[in-house]
């Protein structure tokens, strides 16, 4: 059975808050790509490259926001990783900037996380994201609650 990768159609669903979440390293390697809008595979690759290009040229004196096509990217850099969230231009920048910071749960979850943890445990990172964001919306904002849930899931076989 040949199944297509998610969505050859590029349908625009209006009003989704988050369009996608990307975690990339400085070299542009994707450590997580979570899409909340349907893009075809080529389009995804293009977006990944474009985001890398606009984000990595910026320094600490720049804002954490970049206009991006008809959207904007809210991003934050932790060591060598860029955490990027693409949202509508009129969304609340600071709320998403701090939503990114909630990813510090990864730190606790992986005991002092490093980039390699995300590579080797890529399938768990999806679980973390689904706890925090769902359907393009912020699902859970309490780090304590997210972590408790993750540890509970970790204990299951």
């Amino acid at each position: 059975v040949r199944l297509k990768g998610q969505g050859k159609r590029c349908k625009r669903s209006e009003g989704l808050e988050i369009r996608f979440i990307l975690i990339q390293n400085r070299a542009g390697k994707t450590r997580l790509a979570k899409w909340y809008m349907q893009f075809d595979d080529d389009e995804k690759q293009k977006l990944i490259e474009e985001v890398h290009a606009v984000v990595t040229v910026r320094d600490a004196k720049h804002t954490n926001f970049v206009e991006f096509r008809n959207f904007k990217i809210i991003y934050r850099r932790y060591a060598g990783l860029y955490f990027c969230i693409c949202v509508d231009v009129n969304d609340n920048n600071l709320a998403y900037l701090e939503a990114i910071h909630n990813f510090v749960v990864l730190n606790e979850y992986f005991h002092n996380v490093c980039e390699l943890d995300l590579v080797f445990n890529f399938y768990k990172v999806y679980t973390v994201v689904d706890e925090m964001f769902l359907a393009g919306e912020i699902r859970e904002t309490s780090q304590t609650k997210v972590l408790k849930q993750l540890l509970m899931l970790q204990s299951l076989e």
């Binding site: 669903s13 002092n112 769902l134 919306e137 699902r139 309490s142 849930q149």
Partner: protein
Amino acid sequence: RTEIAEYRANRSVVPRCAVPCPARPGADTTAIMPAVSKGDGMRGLAVFISDIRNCKSKEAEIKRINKELANIRSKFKGDKALDGYSKKKYVCKLLFIFLLGHDIDFGHMEAVNLLSSNKYTEKQIGYLFISVLVNSNSELIRLINNAIKNDLASRNPTFMCLALHCIANVGSREMGEAFAADIPRILVAGDSMDSVKQSAALCLLRLYKASPDLVPMGEWTARVVHLLNDQHMGVVTAAVSLITCLCKKNPDDFKTCISLAVSRLSRIVSSASTDLQDYTYYFVPAPWLSVKLLRLLQCYPPPEDAAVKGRLVECLETVLNKAQEPPKSKKVQHSNAKNAILFETISLIIHYDSEPNLLVRACNQLGQFLQHRETNLRYLALESMCTLASSEFSHEAVKTHIDTVINALKTERDVSVRQRAADLLYAMCDRSNAKQIVSEMLRYLETADYAIREEIVLKVAILAEKYAVDYSWYVDTILNLIRIAGDYVSEEVWYRVLQIVTNRDDVQGYAAKTVFEALQAPACHENMVKVGGYILGEFGNLIAGDPRSSPPVQFSLLHSKFHLCSVATRALLLSTYIKFINLFPETKATIQGVLRAGSQLRNADVELQQRAVEYLTLSSVASTDVLATVLEEMPPFPERESSILAKLKRKKGPGAASALDDGRRDPSSNDINGGVEPTPSTVSTPSPSADLLGLRAAPPPAAPPASAGAGNLLVDVFDGPAAQPSLGPTPEEAFLRFVCKNNGVLFENQLLQIGVKSEFRQNLGRMYLFYGNKTSVQFQNFSPTVVHPGDLQTHILSGLGHPAPRQLSSPRGSPQTQVDGGAQVQQVLNIECLRDFLTPPLLSLPVTINKFFQPTEMAAQDFFQRWKQLSLPQQEAQKIFKANHPMDAEVTKAKLLGFGSALLDNVDPNPENFVGAGIIQTKALQVGCLLRLEPNAQAQMYRLTLRTSKEPVSRHLCELLAQQF
């Protein structure tokens, strides 16, 4: 391995300060791979990933992957049944390979099998594979849906969440069809766990967005709204997103959410910094929930209930107050969270746009941020102030920050911040500060980033045009634009300056002088040559008196640029040259020489060759008179939407454009670009306050022109000796006919016929008068004079004659004094109704007050309410009169519509009666009018009742209209 060791040395992707974390035991061991936690260690997967990472080349990687794919395929096809663990591991490897960018064409069935495992880790990998790789497939979707159905029914919250997340991630229509009915049930069920409710709310949101028709509304609406009261903040957070989405489509059904949202918000905002425990983020109580609630409220107008509104205003004030308190933490997370709420609060205040006090406070707060050391805050403050600038309550407050904003434009390091500063300067610009802002933007343009130059150019061009008080400043500004950023000055911009110069003769001489000087720069931009060529070709004669810019000097200056220009510019210059031959006969020989040159006559470019040949022949063959006619000065341009504004709108996305052009509409300001709809032009309005472009607030194009009538325009044509017994209807009769129509013959006798065509919109009108000479001899000293009362202002747009000699296009429109026998000449008048006017003229242009009627549709209820409001005796005028014409309902309807009012059906209980409504638009005021006409067929009588807010208007309209039936 080195790479891994390096990573190990540089651990900590996330700053440690964020979460206190114990030192990792054994962190200094030289492990090849990160230790996997117990329970789900897939050693094979880790080895595979490690191998891939160690591949030195793309080829090696592909080789390794192919080897793995072959291995997995054989395992899946093998005779031995795989256990759950192996299946999970191989499916996970396939997923990894897919995520590396390789196609995967098998393994789906194994993934689906994992869904029915009762082990969480196996189920999770199955669902993940489905979510990432499977969109919809007829064969598998049934199996997948079946597994999801089982998990949803399992009462195991972990499995339920996995299933819900899968639906939310895939969101296909098939899944919607299968589960749209179940999810609301799970969401509002009393025994659902909190985490399940959170997931169910967002899952439903996803399905609703993908296929709203599948999601049943109604029965559970009220219970969903009540989730706003849920004890669990996470449930509320998810529910607010769902409700916000639902209420955008069904605002009335979800109205009850307003008061619930306000009280929830109020509880959060007033709680102490640690009250909310897990939901306190760096001493800020529930920042995301607050933001979401504030966004939900932006779906609605301000609450109607006074108590709710009071509570909300209190919340908003509390947020603004808290912004002034000293921070509870120095961490950026604290201030970001706090300010996220603050900015959303300001958005809501701007959305309401009804609380001047809050708007000004918001502006002051943003003003503080303009100088904050955090770039983010400066950026957001500039952005937010842009919308504040468009509120009449805060516009002035925003303007006080002009110096800071200009400084930001000059000194900010981040181009996006400078861009916001430019946006804000554009938004805060008005007549009082236009010169300063335009000059700062011009200065910025010299060093601006290439990416935003064109936009800055457009903005400068628009502001210069919009707020030009003297047009020499406008011309200077545009020429500066071309000088500084010629490459970014689009056609729209330089076309525009030509239009404006052509349409205003008071600036033509200045423009000619200025371009002449600009062209003397050794390297001037080609756009300057275009503008210069055009303007000198039209108005070079205005500076020809000065020997320094004598015709030969002008010509040789232009021609010195000729050879370096593109074909399009050279074509334009050739037209300039032929115009010179008309303007300056002394240049004829030189120019003919140029045209005759082989490089022109035999130019490889067809356009240039054709122009050269035609112009040369024209100049040799045509008489001076013919030349003068053919090469006459261009007539004024008709006014359309400013092409520059249109371009700016196209450039920016729809969202951004609205921020720019939805700017404050100050009715008293003379926005040159005020109207974007097509409007009749006021091209050569002479008064200094006049508009150049659109007419103040332009009317919707659909507004039907009102009917005709007599106002206070006197045309003195009948006083002179030419007056003869008239042939047609008496002037009074003719005049009356125009009350309800706009076009026709106004006057006719043996000598002269005067025809009228007119159109009216809001308080403006344009009238074309056609004077036909019915005799075979020339009229000498023909001089129609328009005399009008002060309440009506007219501008004679073009003089008589078509084609008219050039002096006639002067704004005063001194008309052509000769009309040849049998010829017709035309005169155009622009009319503006300053306030209501009554005086019926002796013999007049058919401009009556009802011409400025704008029809208004309203429901019966509104009509009666307004009718009652206008119940003072002096507001009503009534007339009972005998019918002069057959009483035909259709004719009556047509007349009332022609009169300009809207006809309202189903208002009057008696269907025989007519009820109408409209607004008279004048510059000074608007007069609402209601009318009722009751025919009595038996008695052949009518009763007409007019109610307006102004007594004389009621009476006058009543008089005018009563004569029509």
